[in-house]
């Protein structure tokens, strides 16, 4: 997952694409995040100025939504579904296993920067759970052995 390194010019180009759009803030933040992998602190005043908002308003939106990250994630992202239908299929056990193996709490990244572990509340795969998303790829009917394999794969440089 290659992200661009931060540059105010690149951000300005992305921002320009949303000027004049009603309710531009969320689509704009999504675009910034897909370019830079997170919403860099430096982007906030730039966005605020362009959309005629206060910095506090932009910051408030960034922090409200779980998707927007203020820091980059690891090279790989493992999202495990924590919601009820997956719980009914042993999701909690898998979550425990992932946290143990990676020695991480939710939202954490391994010290080598390889893996970020995130909770997700339902992927709409509730009839073939437990479910996960590994670097954007969906995984259903997950079991401990497969999860172990996935984690080992993500840790390999």
């Amino acid at each position: 997952m290659g992200f661009q390194t931060w540059s105010a010019e690149a951000a300005a180009t992305i921002i320009a694409g949303h000027l004049g759009e009603r309710g531009a803030l969320l689509p704009l933040l999504h675009d910034l995040q897909s370019a830079f992998g997170h919403i860099p602190e430096a982007a906030i005043p730039q966005v605020a100025l362009a959309l005629n908002l206060s910095r506090a308003e932009v910051h408030g939106v960034v922090t409200f939504y779980h998707d927007f990250r203020e820091a980059p994630h690891g090279r790989h992202v493992l999202k495990l579904c924590r919601a009820e239908a997956c719980q009914a299929m042993g999701g909690e056990r898998l979550a425990g296993l992932a946290r143990d193996r990676l020695d991480l709490d939710w939202g954490g990244t391994t010290p080598d920067g390889a893996v970020t572990l995130e909770p997700i509340f339902c992927l709409g795969l509730c009839a073939c759970g437990p479910a996960a998303m590994v670097d954007g790829e969906l995984v259903g009917r997950l079991d401990p052995a497969r999860l172990d394999g996935i984690i080992a794969g993500l840790r390999t440089p």
Partner: protein, 511 residues
């Protein structure tokens, strides 16, 4: 050329459908492979279908490694094989359904407009244009359709309010935020029959005088987002969206907006805030969105399944639709069978079927083979039901009468290994994570709730803390602006009431 269907639905992709499609393409280069939506028999995914002179024949669940064996056995002719399920339409799970909203899902090529029209697509729009806006609204009122997003408000009445509201600009907002665990109908319709969503929104626009629609899809559904965007582009090129929809003289277009991982943004006013570019904070009502909604204009906001049910209502008439169902719950509901079930998937049926029939007969009981202990109906804000309440008919009022709700139609089954005190704790924890923060009982009460349940589980002043959790639930019910804080008490209190032994409450039997 023989046509082979391998679903591109997310549930099929998650269990290896792409590899199956690739293996089939390699083994049978002369066949045409169509990536259809899912038929909703999720336990058979990836479910491969072959078109034979006698109709489609199903195989599933197929792994890529099964493909050589299937091909050798004569898959191309629909031949017998241990994975063969026979003619698709004869599979009992499908045969027992009444597919109105999901009539095409899994059958057509999702992005083929020709396929859509060949299977009855755009007949509803044609009729709406023919009878005009007022009659269209009345047809929806007459059908008895109620909102499928959870609250069950009559869709036609909402449309009538917006039709009659003053305003140059009006909006149609389609709610595809589908945050409830155990639900996937919105995702399936977007991935399997996207044009029905476009047609439903377009009819809503014509009926109410709105020319712009917004489709708000949760970010957790990347495949649905891609399919909807592609379908909208196709519809635009074909003239089904734009300044003159299908030569009708009506203008209508749709913009897609993506959520950002906030459950509360499924609540209609929080969703409007989100489209407007703000934090997803719930607005106080009144004003109703129908009077003052998106950007301050009269707005229809409907769940995507409500809107996707409109084309068939217009095509076949309000009477046809209202003839299905029970009491004040008319028509059909796409019920989603999830969690620990042998036969999980989407089951569209007229209202009135019992919970027990859904879990035991249709769902086939647990996949773990252990007894069913608890069933959560209606998502994270829905009550937990024990098997002793399995006679409850699937109907808005019947569930409400038992302190539950049908919500968006999700049913999550747990076996006897479940710890209901843990589930109650999770309900409070989820509310704490997702609260929009506006009301103290929801924001703070849910965190207190987690602590109190922890004390109950540790047997620390148990009686006192059980009384406390009850009080807290009452405060949340009374002091919350929306159903996140207001309904979180349902799963908590139903767990305590029906599964008291998990909370150390003596004298209450199981179920």
């Amino acid at each position: 050329m023989t046509r082979i269907f391998v679903p591109c639905d997310a549930s099929a992709l998650a269990v290896g459908a792409d590899a199956v499609a690739a293996a089939l393409a390699k083994a049978l280069p002369e066949a045409t492979i169509i990536r259809n939506g899912s038929r909703g028999l999720t336990w058979l995914e990836p479910m491969v279908e072959i078109e034979t002179p006698a109709g489609r024949v199903a195989y599933g669940p197929v792994a890529a490694s099964d493909v050589p064996g299937l091909v050798d056995a004569g898959l191309i002719d629909g031949a017998a094989h241990p994975l063969c399920r026979g003619p698709t339409e004869e599979i009992p799970f499908l045969k027992r359904q009444t597919r109105l909203t999901f009539a095409r899902c899994g059958i057509v090529d999702p992005l083929s407009l020709a396929d859509y029209c060949a299977h009855g697509g755009y007949r509803g729009l044609e009729r709406a244009v023919g009878i005009g806006p007022d009659e269209t609204v009345e047809a929806v009122v007459h059908s008895g359709l109620r909102g499928r997003g959870g609250a069950g408000f009559p869709t036609g009445i909402k449309w009538r309010t917006v039709r009659q509201a003053e305003g140059q600009t009006k909006y149609i907002v389609c709610n595809a935020d589908e945050g409830d665990s155990g639900t996937f109908a919105d995702r399936m319709i977007m991935e399997g029959d996207p044009f029905v969503v476009i047609e439903g929104m377009t009819i809503a626009g014509i009926a109410t005088g709105a020319t712009q629609g917004y489709l708000y899809i949760r970010s957790e559904y990347p495949h649905a987002i891609a399919t909807m965007k592609a379908a909208i582009a196709i519809a635009r090129v074909a003239g089904y969206l734009g300044p003159d929809v299908a030569g009708s003289g009506f203008a209508f277009d749709i913009a897609v907006r993506i959520g950002a991982g906030a459950y509360v943004c499924g609540e209609e006013t929080a969703l409007l805030e989100s489209i407007e570019g703000r934090r997803g904070t719930v607005r106080a009502k009144p004003p109703l969105p129908a009077h003052k909604g998106l950007f301050g204009c009269p707005t229809v906001i409907n769940n995507i399944i409500s809107l996707a049910s409109v084309p068939v209502i217009l095509d076949k008439g309000g009477d046809f639709y209202r003839d299905f169902g029970l009491g004040r719950s008319r028509g059909t509901m796409p019920i989603q069978l999830a969690g620990n079930l042998r036969h999980g998937g989407l089951f569209e049926v007229a209202f009135g079927i019992t919970l027990g029939a859904l879990v035991e007969e249709i769902g086939g009981g647990t996949i773990s083979g252990r007894p069913v202990r608890a069933v959560q109906v209606g998502g994270p804000l829905g009550a937990y039901f024990p098997p002793s309440l399995f006679d409850t008919p699937f109907d808005y009022e019947a569930f409400a009468a038992r302190d539950g709700l049908i919500g968006h139609g999700g049913i999550v089954v747990f076996d006897d290994t479940v710890d209901m005190a843990h589930q109650a704790r999770f309900a409070m924890e989820f509310c704490a994570i997702e609260s929009c923060g506006k009301c103290t009982p929801c924001r703070i009460g849910s965190t207190r709730g987690v602590e109190v349940i922890d004390r109950i589980r540790r047997n620390q002043d148990r009686d006192k803390n059980l009384a406390l959790i009850d009080e807290l639930c009452t405060t949340m019910k009374l002091g919350s602006l929306c159903a996140l804080g207001g309904f979180t008490p349902y799963p908590v209190q139903s767990a305590i009431r029906h599964f008291g032994e998990d909370f150390g409450v003596a004298g209450q039997g199981r179920g």
